[in-house]
Amino acid sequence: MADFKFDLVSPERRLAELDATEVQIPGADGDMTAMADHAPTITTLRPGILKVVHSGGTEEFVVSGGFAEITANSVTVLAEKALPRSEATKERMDKLVEEATAAHEAAKASGQGVDEADQVRNAMVEVASHVML
């Protein structure tokens, strides 16, 4: 299977830079899997689990949102917050859920983007419970 370049960066650090064969992306409109020669796409992310398959195995990352740029020979994920699944402790997940909830409350108070914030919060809660299982 053909490899392509995979990059996962968050504002604070670069989490991964490797040759992958397959990347599963939690897109805002649903999950998608990118492989080599994918049509160029830019998508936003919902909180979810990003799964990277490469020759050495599979890696998983928890992302809290952001966007991904897919081209024929590279996938770049610019996550707002991201951490390797192995580092996803209960405290960290709780904090992320808390933040999403706070954002939802803030959205409700301002009356703007309530639905989006609600979706984000729900997705975050789902990811958190999934990761903790």
Binding site: S10, P11, E12, E69
Partner: protein, 290 residues
């Protein structure tokens, strides 16, 4: 001629000053390394982000473009976000940024525009308050923050965006010092709203992307994030610049203290010798008189 005791006291006080500045220099050097690392870590994100944005911006400009990209149509009210350090003793770092912001504000005022100022960091606020205190609309206190994270940048961005949505200003510019190396930090003004593609960004080759959900939705999602990203990058640059400036300032101070100690020691030895000579003359002339 100052007496010996005074000189001795002065020497020991300059010596302890030198110890302090030396310690500050070493602390700054350690912090600088961390700050530089943080800035390096953030660079890939900013670069990728900007190149995606550049591509999007090029295809989305024109009619019906979001306000964050195209502007409000006027440029009457300017928001200046002045980012400085929380602490002093870092050479010209704070005053250079403040100076740039002040001259920028003066230009805008001379053109009859309205100026609003948000300060980040105590030192900048103190430096501009006298001239432009009436224009202050907010202040962000980072003195409790040990390590600037993306969260801090997001908080600032949220504040700025809320003001923009409320129609409080048309153009926002951030002021910070770009880190070049330890001895040189360049005060920089960068416009963040409306979005301007930073210089040196190469736009992605004109690949035609599919957008999910839609181009507008992505742009609406990315633009506010772009503001936060730019503020974050500026905060990090500023952090590195501050430590660099402090390091070289403290290095100078240490060297000056060393020179002063040398000078004072020579003076001390001379006066001690003078005292001894005096005493000898007195003894000899006393003996001769007998």
């Amino acid at each position: 001629m100052p007496n010996l005791k005074d000189l001795k006291n002065r020497i020991s006080s300059v010596k302890s000053t030198r110890k302090i500045t030396k310690a500050m220099q070493m602390v700054a050097a350690a912090k600088l390394r961390r700050a530089q690392e943080a800035a390096e870590m953030a660079r890939p994100y900013t670069e990728r982000f900007n190149s995606v944005m550049a591509g999007l911006a090029a295809s989305a400009s024109g009619e019906g473009a979001p306000k964050l990209l195209a502007g409000t149509g006027s440029d009457d009210t300017h928001l200046l976000v002045v980012m400085t350090a929380e602490r002093g003793l870092c050479g010209g770092f704070n005053s250079n940024i403040a100076k740039l912001a002040k001259s920028h504000a003066a230009d805008l005022l001379a053109q009859g525009k309205t100026v609003k100022i948000i300060t980040v960091g105590k030192k900048g606020r103190d430096a501009i308050r006298r001239d432009l205190g009436d224009h202050f609309v907010g202040h962000v206190d980072l003195s409790e923050v040990k390590r600037v994270g993306y969260d801090n940048a997001q908080d600032i961005a949220r504040d700025v965006l809320a003001r923009f949505d409320a129609g409080e200003f048309d153009v926002a510019t951030i002021f910070y010092a770009k880190f070049v190396n330890v001895v040189s930090q360049i005060p920089t003004a960068q416009q963040i709203i409306p979005f301007e593609v930073p210089e040196g960004t190469q736009a992605d080759d004109s690949t035609l992307y599919d957008y999910e959900p839609s181009e507008e939705a992505i742009l609406a999602d990315l633009l506010p994030r772009g503001v936060a990203t730019q503020i974050f990058a500026a905060l990090l640059e500023n952090g590195a610049s501050e430590q660099g400036a402090r390091m070289s300032a403290m290095d100078n101070a240490t060297r000056n203290a060393g020179e002063m100690i040398d000078k004072l020691t020579i003076e001390f030895n001379r006066s001690r010798q003078a005292v001894i000579t005096n005493e000898l003359i007195e003894i000899i002339s006393g003996a001769e008189a007998l």
